[in-house]
Amino acid sequence: MKDNLSVVGQNFVPVYAAKKSDGTVKFPADVSLPGMLWMKFTRSPHAHARILEVDTSQAEKLFGVVKILTYKDVPRVLFGPYKDELYPLDEEVSFVGDSVAAVAAEDWNIAEEAARAIRVKYEQLPAVFDTEAATKDDSPMSTLHLPDSNADWWKDTRRNNGDEKPTNVMGGTNEKPTWVNQRGNLDEGFSQSELIVERVFHQAHVSGVPHEPRGCVAIYKNDQCTLWCSVQDPFKVQSAVAKVLGLPKESIRIVSTIIGGGFGVKVLGRFAVLAALMARETTRPVKVWFTREEESLDSHNRSALVHYVKAGTKKDGSLTAFKVRTYMDNGFWMFGGLGENIAKSICTRPMDLYRKIPNVLWEVLTVRTNHPSTGPYRGRADAESHFAVETVMDELAHGIGMDPLEFRLKNRIHPGDPLCSVPGKVMSAVGVEEAARQGAETIGWDRRNTIANSNGAARKRGIGMAMVIHSCGSNPSGSSEARVEIDDGGVLSLFSGTPDQGAEQQTTLRQMVAEVLRVPLHTIGGNNADTSNCPFDSGPYSSRTVYCAGIAATRAAEAMKQTLFELAAEKLEAPQDQLVLADGFVTVIGTPSRKVSFAALVAANGGLLKTSYRYNSKDEVLFAYGFAAAFAEVEVDTGTGEVKICRFVSSHDVGRAINPIIVEGQIRGGVSQGLGYAMSEGFRFDPRTGTALNQWFLDLKTPSILDIPDIEPIMVELGEPTHPFGAKGCSEIPYVGVAPAIANAIYNATGARLYELPMSPDRVLRALAAVSGGGH
């Protein structure tokens, strides 16, 4: 960690904040072009069907309809964010809301009316909704092997199975899970256990609900295509559009500079590819902008899950064995949602956090169904697993009469421990104990009820906690490049490929550059996430921007400093080790009058100075993780089942906060989304048809300003040795601990355990009834 920092670690007003507050920032859907058409989709009412016929004749007759595309009119080219697996439109529909046809018209109302006027004849196919039934040999398949399909993903679904028996289990078979984490000897572990807890957990399918619905404006001219597109992965969109249009990548420009929330879910989809195709077909600009229903369902949600957990401990608090079988409802996409990748993290990361558990068997079956697609959403994989793990930890601790905080810390990971989540890598710094102890002190952990349900009041108070691990950006996949430039006016710019989806990463990255090059933050310009002038970045996911792009920006700035010193050494006739930077000048130590401006050095160079750095973490052995502890104080109304969140303390091992106001904002925002996951959100699907019943905004039940308290963030700054400024990403991990902390607080208040998300009042009442023997 560096000392004497003047920009890093300080609160600065985020660089895009003023434009966001005066409404002048242009989100993709805010772009309007002369002659622009509006595109809408016809969507499937069936969860699984083959399209037999699409009759567009009535729709085509409508005034103002310009073009209709069905699967017969689009290139039969596969694309996808992670594997090429989707056609722009297909003859098979795989969930209620899947796209069937696209209509371009003169206005939004006409396009919508025409989309409804398209008549589609379907052959309905058996649909798969129940993940456990889907893994039986007599289950129908959630996808067809289309006769003309040459998709690699289809071949993969049948791999590892000698007779090529089809399966709904991704990357496995009906007998073999998608991913297994195994260590030690489970039977031995349970035989040593002095207390064993066995529980089943259910978690609902939830949407990320970015408030900006996905939008895209496409313009096609002279075999060049530009898309303003609300996605987190502009470079993937660039590759996909190029592939489908049959053009070189350089002919495609994607602009995703500022998007209205992402949370992991806004990735490449059909909407972007179809906007490009429609713009080519019509030779006019095309805008597509999702409704809320489309944003809810044609997205990447968090999967519904079932966990069967059995765990054992000794009375001294040493965990002996941990066994889990998880069914994950992946929805329709094969690899687009990274279902296998999520499975791996689900079964390994919590077992890294509790590295001391000697005997583990955790199996995950990622099951392809005909529900909407799922994928990485804030807290990816760890929000999926920690509710079950942290509830069981709490039960075990109470069962042996140990402080749940001390029980967790006794079994935790330490620096230097090998990681089962990233084989071959070794744990870097661990600040989880400091975070947990500071959080405990802030909430007043000692105030908790020593025996749950110890009072008989109608409203009962309790305190609960959870301890969690999550990615902080130390990511073995993906890469980030940053470029620093100084122009002939001496103006410094940073170019990064990562969109701002609300985390104000450009502010944080520019702070690192400003620190290295000793210039005021506000003098740094540049651009981000425009493929025409920004270098490659995999995008803001896994909380990786501060870490990966931060390292890239810092190294690019350091390379610039070196370049400036080399040029200045000649100009000032002084050795490089006698030079320092200050306010846009290079000066000689001790003689401030001997100085040369950045602009003069650019001139000496004969024009623009440019340095860049591409960061790729694959070679490092040390691996960083984010750690946090969450503490909730609740008041349960035992008459209505309502749970009031009185206080919520979210304590984080952040390494170092580059801009504390942003970090605190990310913590509060993450907790507030986690509160929705814990208490109120979750799709209800009609079990016969697979139709979502609550995809509209009010029914999504995201927390309002009246639902949540002032969340109390804590930032523990111990410094991460693998990052030049000691920083770790922490915008997702705040989400992860919320549900289990509240579940454990409800237990502390009432003695009732909740095993299902969301913890809605009806479920709380049922749990209360279970502990009081039917009445309360």
Binding site: A17, T24, V25, K26, F63, D107, I258, I708
Partner: protein
């Protein structure tokens, strides 16, 4: 394409009306389809894209504007209904030479994270502060409860409104 042309409905079935809208103190004479919402007209006809849309049915508040000084959802207000009303949008505030205190404090407290609900939050807060220059935190929360935010957890939003109120009262 040729088939499309042949059978095409030749007349525009949309019903248009000429209306006068007063937006940010400026009169606009417009021909609008009767099905167009105020949000459609602001965004798609007048290019006043500071006003957002996120749900289309009054469920989230991202489209909030002021109608005669009160906060209203522009996505469930037909354009023809807004005739004769004083319509204020975020662009009205931004036209001033200096940012409005609400805009300044939303920026400095990081209450504008992704920025999508920000114009709506600011307009809703303006409706509050115009009527109640010294609100309690509870009054701020109730007044802003018609606008949802997915990013902030709301603490910074309440703080921004509180700070703006202090500045508007001259620091008292």
């Amino acid at each position: 394409m040729s088939q499309v042309e042949e059978n095409k409905q030749s007349e525009d079935p949309r019903r248009f009306r000429n209306i006068e809208l007063s937006i940010n103190g400026q009169g606009h004479t417009l021909q609008v389809a009767t099905t167009w919402t105020l949000n459609d007209v602001l965004r798609n006809v007048l290019d006043l894209t500071g006003t957002k849309r996120a749900c289309d049915y009054g469920g989230c508040g991202s489209c909030t504007v002021l109608l005669d000084g009160l906060d209203a959802y522009s996505c469930v207000t037909l354009a023809v209904e807004a005739e004769g009303k004083d319509i204020q949008t975020i662009e009205g505030l931004s036209a001033a030479p200096e940012p409005h205190p609400l805009q300044k404090h939303f920026a400095s407290t990081y209450a504008a994270q992704c920025g999508w609900c920000t114009p709506a939050m600011i307009m809703s807060a303006k409706a509050l502060l115009d009527q109640n220059p010294n609100p309690t935190d509870d009054e701020i929360r109730v007044a802003l409860s018609g606008v949802l935010c997915r990013c902030t957890g709301y603490t910074s939003v309440v703080q921004a409104v509180r700070d703006a109120a202090v500045e508007l009262r001259g620091g008292r």
